[in-house]
């Protein structure tokens, strides 16, 4: 959502703008102004700038989010190995400390920039923008942004990515989408990872995980993956390749795309008017 075209005004919140003009006298005689500004508009402005930058270079950017240890870096390693002959890949890694994840990716021959956030529990658009200064986007097809492992804060910040992927590993339990609805509602694809462990962790039901995602009104594909079982990786790789192709076509038409959760405001605005 932006703050310029009015797409953040829906029939659910339009009463917040005072009728009869924005500027009003208050009871105590001072003045008040109705604004309806998204509090994260500065972040969103930088995110839009990042997205334009990606689109200009035809880069498809994916934001990977999950709890710590759900297998984001392992999924990236497996994806890099499977795709690097056909696509040029770069990675931005977000962690509180260490270069470990960037080194894991670099050891596979792919450029990786590590953002160490110190104590910040999420990446924001400004951090990604700074990291982009260290990356040559020319010739890159796919940019993976591995967010800080955290099922809460990263969901609130647009980075300029085109798609959000949220991982849920089998050891975490199938009710995580119900416990962290903001995060799982934001997903364009949910990857149930470490499914090789289903044999021993038999209290995890993939059906329940799926219905918990659907209960968030999220129609995103829910894939079952294990980096230890090559055959489970096919659907994930096919989704990525399809997204890259679609994004190339969009870039040629001068269009872009944002993660699914964000166009809601624009759609509802169309409903309300």
């Amino acid at each position: 959502m932006c703050d310029t075209c009015g797409c953040n005004i829906t029939h659910g919140n339009q009463h917040l703008i005072a009728p009869g003009g924005k500027l009003q006298k208050t009871e105590r005689g001072s003045e008040a102004i109705g604004v309806l500004k998204n509090l994260l508009s500065e972040n969103d402005h930088t995110a839009a700038h990042n997205r334009e930058h990606f689109d200009r270079h035809g880069v498809f950017a994916v934001n990977l989010m999950s709890s710590p240890g759900a297998g984001k870096t392992s999924l990236l390693e497996a994806s890099v190995d499977a795709l690097r002959d056909r696509y040029r890949i770069a990675v931005i890694e977000g962690d509180l400390e260490t270069e470990n994840d960037a080194q894991r990716i670099r050891s596979r021959g792919v450029e990786a920039v590590q953002i160490t956030t110190g104590s910040a529990c999420h990446l924001d658009a400004h951090m990604v923008h700074d990291a982009l200064h260290q990356l040559k986007l020319e010739g890159i097809d796919i940019l993976f942004i591995e967010n800080v492992g955290n099922l809460v804060c990263p969901a609130s910040f647009d980075l300029g990515q085109h798609r959000n992927v949220t991982l849920l590993s089998v050891p975490e339990g199938d009710d995580k989408p119900s416990k962290y609805p903001v995060m799982f509602r934001a997903a364009d694809l949910v990857a149930l990872t470490k499914v090789d462990l289903l044999a021993v962790l038999d209290d995890f039901s993939t059906d329940r995980a799926l219905s918990n995602v659907r209960a968030l009104a999220n129609a995103a594909p829910v894939l079952e993956l294990s980096v230890k079982r090559d055959e489970t990786m096919e659907a994930w790789l096919a989704w990525l390749e399809q997204e890259v192709q679609q994004h190339r076509q969009r870039c040629q038409r001068g269009e872009t795309v944002r993660p699914r959760i964000q166009p809601d405001g624009a759609r509802l605005h169309a409903l309300a008017t």
Partner: protein
């Protein structure tokens, strides 16, 4: 805990508005916050005085309107109340709904005093 960074973004917006309006002092701010914004109103209230200190908004009252979660059903067309982890239509039970309200993180109103010369 990202509420402090959100408060800092809030104060930056208020400072900009205050300059535009030639406000001498900000008296109150109103926010609308829905549960699906991922931001906790109580944590915002705690972080706010730290972010406002030394700015034009120092001492300004912070009012937070909690927004209800409402969905619009794309199957039956009805609007209904929902909860954060069950965004189902209360009328027909379908999960194919769109959010009408509940994910807001909005600065809705700023009350201020102008410099005398401009009143």
């Amino acid at each position: 805990m990202h509420e402090l960074s959100i408060c800092q973004a809030l104060i930056a917006q208020v400072e900009l508005l205050a300059r535009e309006q030639r406000a001498q002092r900000v008296l109150s701010l109103a926010l609308a916050v829905g549960p699906l914004s991922g931001v906790e109103a109580n944590l915002l209230r705690q972080a706010y005085p730290f972010a406002a200190a030394g700015t034009v908004a120092e001492g300004a009252e912070l009012a937070i309107e909690d927004r209800p979660i409402r969905v619009h059903c794309t199957s039956c067309g009805q609007d209904s109340d929902a909860t954060a982890n069950r965004l189902l239509c209360a009328c027909c039970g379908d999960w194919q709904t769109e959010l009408v309200s509940g994910d807001e993180l909005i600065l809705s109103r700023v009350e201020f005093e102008r410099e005398q010369a401009y009143v």
